[in-house]
C-alpha cells in the first residue's frame, strides 16, 4: 500500500518536474559571474561540490548521479552546460523539487565558485583544474605516545616507477571509532616528505585512552591506509555508570537496602505464618489421637 502511494507520488512529482521548463527570470539569466575563473576558485568550488552536490549529482563525467526524477544532470552534460552563469547561480540558490535551495547554507561568493567549478567542465573553457590519474604512494607512520604526536613519511611513484618523496601534500589523520574513521586533522608534508602531527589533548580513546589512528593520503593517490593500533594518546573514555545511585529499580548489586529488607520481611512473614498454619494442621492431627 505504502509503496503504491510512494509510486503515485513519484509519478506526480515527475510530471510536475518534467512538464515545465525550469524558468529563470530574464534579469537573473544574464547576471555575470563576479568571481574570477581561476584555479583557486575552482578548487574551492570543488570542495563545496564534494560536500553538497556529489551525493546526488555523482562524479563529474561518470554519469553516476542518483536515479531521481527528474534526474540530476552530470556536471559535464550538455543540459548542465547549456545554462548561463546566471541561470546556474539562480538554480543553485533557489532549488526546485528534489534539488534543495542553497541560499541559506552556501554563501553567495561560494555559490559563484560552484558555478566556476561547473564551468571547469565546459568544453569551450580551458580547464584550470585537471584531475591527474591517481598515483601510487606509500606512507610510513609511527606514533610517539609520550609527545602525543604522529610522525609520517610519504613517498609516491613517479613516471619512471621510482619512489620519490612526496612533498607539500596534505595527509589526513583519523581515529578509528565504532562507526568508521573520525577525521581529527590534516598535516602537510615538508620537502623531505615528512610530517609531524600533534594529537589534540581532547581526543577521547577507549576506556584506557587507547586510540587506533588511521593515516591516509587524500584523493589522487592510491595507497594503503596506515593503521596504528591502540596507541595511548587519548583521554580515557568516561564509562557512564548507568545506575549511578541506588534507585527503586536498581540491580541486585546496588539495591536499596530498605527495599530488599521489606521484600524479605514480607516474604518471610507470609511464609512463616503459612508454616505456622501447617504446624497447626499437624497439631489438629495430634489432638485427634490423644483421646
Amino acid at each position: 500500500m505504502k509503496i503504491k502511494l510512494l509510486f503515485a507520488a513519484l509519478v506526480f512529482l515527475a510530471q510536475q518536474g518534467m512538464a515545465q521548463e525550469w524558468l529563470v527570470p530574464e534579469d537573473q539569466k544574464s547576471v555575470q559571474n563576479p568571481s574570477e575563473y581561476n584555479l583557486d576558485n575552482v578548487k574551492k568550488g570543488k570542495d563545496l561540490y564534494l560536500q553538497s552536490c556529489k551525493s546526488c549529482h555523482g562524479d563529474p563525467g561518470k554519469n553516476n548521479a542518483l536515479p531521481l526524477v527528474p534526474p540530476p544532470p552530470d556536471f559535464t552534460s550538455d543540459i548542465m552546460q547549456a545554462n548561463t552563469d546566471g541561470e546556474l547561480f539562480y538554480k543553485i540558490t533557489h532549488g526546485r523539487g528534489g534539488m534543495p535551495q542553497f541560499e541559506t547554507t552556501i554563501s553567495e561568493d561560494d555559490r559563484w565558485r560552484l558555478v566556476n567549478y561547473i564551468r571547469n567542465f565546459n568544453p569551450e573553457n580551458e580547464p584550470v583544474l585537471v584531475e591527474e590519474p591517481p598515483k601510487k604512494a606509500k606512507i610510513l607512520a609511527s606514533v610517539n605516545e609520550e609527545q602525543r604526536q604522529v610522525e609520517v613519511f610519504a613517498e609516491y611513484q613517479d613516471k619512471d616507477s621510482n619512489y620519490v618523496v612526496l612533498a607539500e601534500t596534505p595527509i589526513s589523520i583519523g581515529a578509528k571509532k565504532a562507526f568508521g574513521t573520525l577525521p581529527i586533522g590534516q598535516v602537510l608534508t615538508n620537502d623531505e616528505g615528512r610530517a609531524e602531527y600533534h594529537i589534540p589533548e581532547s581526543l577521547i580513546g577507549d576506556e584506557q585512552g587507547m586510540v587506533t589512528l588511521v593515516i591516509d593520503l587524500g584523493e589522487g593517490f592510491i595507497n594503503e591506509d596506515v593503521v596504528l593500533d591502540a596507541a595511548k594518546v587519548g583521554q580515557p573514555k568516561p564509562t557512564p555508570k548507568l545506575i549511578q545511585k541506588e534507585v527503586l529499580w536498581s540491580t541486585n548489586e546496588n539495591i536499596q537496602v530498605w527495599l530488599l529488607l521489606s521484600y524479605l520481611a514480607a516474604v518471610l512473614g507470609a511464609w512463616g505464618t503459612i508454616g505456622y498454619v501447617v504446624f497447626l494442621i499437624f497439631k489438629i492431627s495430634r489432638a485427634g489421637k490423644q483421646e
Partner: protein
C-alpha cells in the same frame, strides 16, 4: 444461628444436609462423563498447541517486536483477577461477620485456586523457553515487580489451598463417618487420610478456628498485593495508558467484578446441577447481585478517573491512546466492555427481578466476558503504539491479532481452570457442611457421632 434443636431433629436434619451436599460427590452419570470429556478434549487440544509453540517458538503467536504482550498476558491478568474473589468472600466478609456469605466461601475458594493456579501456568505459557523460568529464582532482581509477582502468586496459591483445606477437614471426617454407601471407596480412602484423624473435640475445633483466622487475616495483604503487583507490571512503565497512579486499586476493583460474576455463575451451576436450591437460596443471589452492583460502582468510579483525567489533558501520546479506545479501532470492543460489563449490569441489577438466580447468572456471564475483554483492552492497545517516534517499521510489528495457536492455548487455560473447579466439586462438598449445620442449630456433638 437458629435455636439449638433437639438431638432427634438435629440428626434428621444433618442426614438431609449431608445427603444433599454429598450429591455432587456421588453423582455419576452420562452428563458428568460428557463434561469431563469436553474439558479434557479441549484442554488436550490446547496442550497440543502449546507443544507446537514450544517446538517452533513464540513466532507462532501474533506477538512481534513491539506487541510483546498479547492475549496470554491479558488472560493472565484475567485469571489473577477472578482469583481475588476468594479473599473478598471467604476472608473479608467472614472477618466482618457477614453471615450470608458463609455457604459461598468454598465456591469462592474454588475460583481462587483455579484462577491463581492457571495464572501461574499462563505466565509460563507466555515464555518461548519455559525452562528459563528457573532463571527468575536464580537471577531475579529483587527490585523487579516481576519477582514480586511470582512471589505473591505462589504465596496466594498456597494460602488459598490452605484456606480451602482447613474448613474441609471436619467435613471430610463427617463424610468418613456418616457418608452414604454410594460414595466410591477410593474417595472414602482419600477422605480418611485427608481428615487427619479428626475427632471433633473442642481442642481440634479451637485449632481450626485459630488457623482459619490467621489465614483470613494473612490473605488480605497478600490478596491485595497480588493484584496490585500485577498492576505495577504495567504501571511501573512510562507507556501511555499504563502510566497512571490508580492502577493498583483500579485492578483490585475490577478483579472483584470479574470474580463476583464467576462465583455467581458457579453458584447457579451447582444449584441447578446438584439441586442445591435450598442452600444457594434466592437470598444469596440477591446479596451477590447487590455485592456485584457495589463492586461495579467502585470499578466504574475508577474507570471514570482512569479515562477522564488524561482525556481532559489530552497529552499527545495519551491522546492517541484514548482516541484509539473511544473512537478508533478498539472502540467497538471498548464500548461493548463498558456497556455490558459495567453500565447495563449496574442499571439492571438495581431491580430486584434481575437479582434472581437466572437473570443474575445471565448478567454475570456478560460481565465475565466483558472483564476478559477489558484485560485485552488494557494490554494490547498500549503495546500497539510504541513510546518512541519510530520510522520504517514493518506494519506487522505494530499490529497484533492473536493466532489460532494463541487461541488454542488460551482455550486450554479456560478448560484447565474449569477442570480444577470440576474436580474440586466432584471430590469435596461445595458448601462447608459443619458450618452450615451449626448455623442451622445442630450441636457439634451430633456432628461427631458415627453413623447408626
Amino acid at each position: 444461628m437458629e435455636k439449638t434443636k433437639s438431638p432427634e431433629e438435629s440428626r434428621k436434619l444433618l442426614d438431609k444436609i449431608t445427603f444433599d451436599l454429598t450429591r455432587s460427590i456421588v453423582k455419576r452419570d452420562e452428563l458428568t462423563r460428557f463434561w469431563y470429556f469436553i474439558l479434557i478434549m479441549f484442554a488436550g487440544v490446547g496442550l497440543w498447541g502449546w507443544g507446537i509453540q514450544i517446538r517452533d517458538g513464540l513466532g507462532v503467536t501474533g506477538m512481534r517486536d513491539y506487541v510483546s504482550w498479547g492475549m496470554y498476558i491479558a488472560n493472565f491478568v484475567f485469571f489473577v483477577a477472578i482469583s481475588l474473589i476468594g479473599f473478598l468472600i471467604s476472608s473479608a466478609l467472614h472477618l466482618l461477620k457477614i453471615k450470608w456469605s458463609h455457604p459461598i466461601s468454598r465456591v469462592a475458594e474454588q475460583v481462587a485456586i483455579a484462577g491463581v493456579a492457571l495464572a501461574g501456568i499462563i505466565i509460563i505459557n507466555d515464555m518461548g523457553r519455559p525452562d528459563r523460568f528457573l532463571n527468575v529464582f536464580l537471577h531475579g532482581r529483587f527490585a523487579s515487580p516481576i519477582i514480586w509477582d511470582v512471589t505473591v502468586v505462589t504465596t496466594y496459591l498456597t494460602i488459598s489451598v490452605l484456606l480451602y483445606y482447613l474448613p474441609l477437614i471436619p467435613d471430610l471426617a463427617l463424610i468418613r463417618d456418616r457418608g452414604g454407601d454410594d460414595i466410591p471407596t477410593w474417595k472414602m480412602k482419600v477422605y480418611k487420610i485427608m481428615a487427619l484423624g479428626w475427632k471433633g473435640n473442642a481442642e481440634q475445633y479451637k485449632l481450626v478456628y485459630h488457623a482459619m483466622r490467621i489465614l483470613m487475616i494473612l490473605i488480605i495483604p497478600v490478596g491485595l498485593s497480588i493484584h496490585t503487583v500485577t498492576s505495577w507490571l504495567f504501571a511501573a512503565t512510562l507507556r501511555s495508558g499504563w502510566d497512571t497512579t490508580i492502577f493498583g486499586p483500579y485492578f483490585v476493583a475490577g478483579a472483584f467484578v470479574a470474580g463476583a460474576a464467576a462465583v455467581v455463575i458457579l453458584m447457579y451451576a451447582y444449584r441447578v446441577r446438584y439441586r442445591l436450591g435450598e442452600y444457594f437460596e434466592d437470598l444469596h443471589f440477591d446479596y451477590m447481585g447487590k455485592l456485584l452492583v457495589f463492586v461495579c460502582l467502585v470499578y466504574l468510579y475508577f474507570n471514570i478517573n482512569e479515562f477522564w483525567v488524561p482525556a481532559y489533558k489530552m497529552k499527545t501520546a495519551e491522546g492517541i491512546h484514548l482516541r484509539n479506545l473511544f473512537v478508533g479501532s478498539f472502540a467497538p470492543m471498548f464500548w461493548w466492555t463498558q456497556m455490558t460489563g459495567l453500565i447495563l449490569p449496574i442499571f439492571l441489577m438495581l431491580f430486584r427481578f434481575f437479582r434472581k438466580p437466572l437473570p443474575l447468572t445471565i448478567i454475570s456471564v456478560f460481565v465475565l466476558i466483558a472483564s476478559w475483554l477489558k484485560r485485552y483492552i488494557i494490554v494490547i492497545p498500549t503495546m500497539e503504539h510504541p513510546f518512541l517516534p519510530v520510522q520504517n517499521v514493518p506494519d506487522y510489528f505494530k499490529h497484533y491479532s492473536p493466532t489460532s495457536i494463541e487461541i488454542m492455548i488460551t482455550l486450554f487455560s479456560f478448560m484447565a481452570a474449569l477442570l480444577i473447579i470440576t474436580v474440586l466439586a466432584k471430590m469435596f462438598p461445595v458448601i462447608t457442611i459443619w458450618e452450615y449445620a451449626e448455623e442451622k442449630g445442630i450441636d457439634k456433638k451430633i456432628l461427631a457421632e458415627p453413623k447408626k
